[in-house]
Symmetry: C2
Subunit: 292 residues, 2 copies
């Protein structure tokens, strides 16, 4: 399997991308090959900085332009045809790589993917998901997590279908339980969007739709896939990332009063950090763009 | 000050209401008087069960009907004119009580309040809020928290105004910082609703509008008031209620490995419980319905 990695996408590009590619090849030798797409001189400068001379263990696909986090997605794709994003996706579309990976501008990655790779049949809106840990030990996949902030009922059905396929194939769940994230458990609850989506999801053949769940049910693990619009999903995701820092802050004030010395408090904080790893998006890494 | 308490509203009515009224009168003697509105025989049966004979320390306003959690709000108000909800609100509207309190069906309380008390000038949608703790030690008020799931941009402006007034008068904040909860900090981000609300909020005189904040900013305390539609607010609120049980579950698995014995682990859990009290809606009690 050959992967093409956008060397220019992230906030710390291309340094982190070069380091990451080297680390991946070292940790999983022989499992895949990697091509970096981007400005060859910038990539070589990183290798020099790291003291690596001679041929790198990855290929370099030249691309002269860079799509930044501030570029407007659709404009960036048109205005920067020789960007690492566009060149990398075309490389993937031509079959020279089996997957394209980028830590760049999510909107631009999504727009370019739709233009260059196309949508899967039946999909009008590609989607990204996130997942939360639950008290059952397994995760709940939350879809959409921000790719589509203004969603229509039929989009939610597509998110449900893509989420269920992913949970089935990748998490190995047979007939994943799909629920609609809503403000009440009864079918008539919620926004017009939620009500219409509930009706469509109920009528969808082949989907194990278990009805509405509330915000409190996510962590209870009552569903394998929770469907929502990307606005709600994104706000939840970003809020969840701050649970650990908040609990850490609040515990720091309580632990001395509870009789824990500095050393014990540090061990509690370390245990908290491990307890929260399911919410740590840096530990979780990226997510696939589904539907292209 | 006289309070009228809906004796028939909650899941454990009228037992908890009778006990709560007695407790409040005992804890704050002379600060207020209480009338319970509901079925006199059911209220008296609770007093008998508690071994209290003679005249109770609160008044009883008779109402023969009960609005349940399953009643449709608007229908319940019309079909049950002698319900504790309708009778209690009329008692308040007539000036016989200074506030009406109910733990019952939120939608029905809101609908009946609009019918019986009326809306304040300039308010088309009364609202309820919640608040989250922050790492600054003060709270962020989140409005709307579920009263209005399908909100229009002008409703969000009203929520902002009501939230700012409340934060100013009750939390004592001068010029409370009001933010729009959104998926990005830039003005052009978000749903059509968010974009239009941003424009209206920016143009609103007298409001200290600081722009968009993201889900991760709530706990950082960058705003005093975070405005959102009731769908998003409700899902966030209900998710936040499960932070403590989740962390408690996840810590329970980590603490023995971190070298804490049962007693120390129990003290950590107790400290966690105190650390999370800002998210404990049972500890926080109720919230006022703003705008009626």
């Amino acid at each position: 399997m050959n992967l093409v990695l956008d060397a220019m996408g992230g906030d710390f590009a291309p340094g982190h991308e070069v380091e990451g590619a080297l680390m991946a090849l070292r940790l999983a030798p022989g499992r895949f090959t990697i091509d970096l797409v981007g400005q060859p001189e910038a990539i070589r400068a990183e290798l020099d900085r790291m003291g690596i001379s001679g041929e790198p263990p990855f290929g370099i696909v030249p691309a002269s332009q860079v799509v930044s986090m501030h570029d407007h997605p659709a404009q960036a794709v048109k205005a920067k045809p020789d960007s690492s994003l566009v060149v990398g996706l075309k490389y993937h579309a031509e079959g020279k790589a089996d997957a394209f990976i980028s830590t760049g501008n999510t909107g631009a990655v999504m727009t370019a993917s739709v233009f260059i790779l196309g949508r899967l049949p039946g999909v009008s809106r590609p989607t990204v998901f996130t997942f939360f840990p639950t008290v059952t030990g397994s995760n709940v996949l939350i879809v959409d997590a921000g790719a589509n902030v203004d969603s229509k009922p039929e989009h939610l059905v597509q998110f449900a279908q893509m989420g269920a396929i992913y949970a089935g194939c990748v998490f190995g769940k047979a007939a994943p339980r799909v629920a609609l994230l809503n403000v009440g458990s009864e079918p008539g609850k919620g926004t017009e969007l939620a009500k219409e989506a509930h009706a469509l999801l109920s009528a969808r053949p082949g989907l194990n739709f278990i009805g509405n769940i509330e915000g409190r049910d996510l962590i209870r693990g009552t569903a394998d896939v929770a469907v929502c619009d990307g606005f709600t999903g994104n706000i939840l995701l970003k809020f969840a990332e701050t649970i650990e820092p908040f609990i850490s802050y609040a515990l720091a004030a309580e632990l001395p009063e509870a009789g824990f010395d500095e050393d014990a408090a540090a061990r509690v904080q370390a245990a908290l950090h491990r307890a929260c790893r399911g919410f740590d998006y840096e530990a979780q890494g990226g997510v696939p763009l589904l539907g292209v």
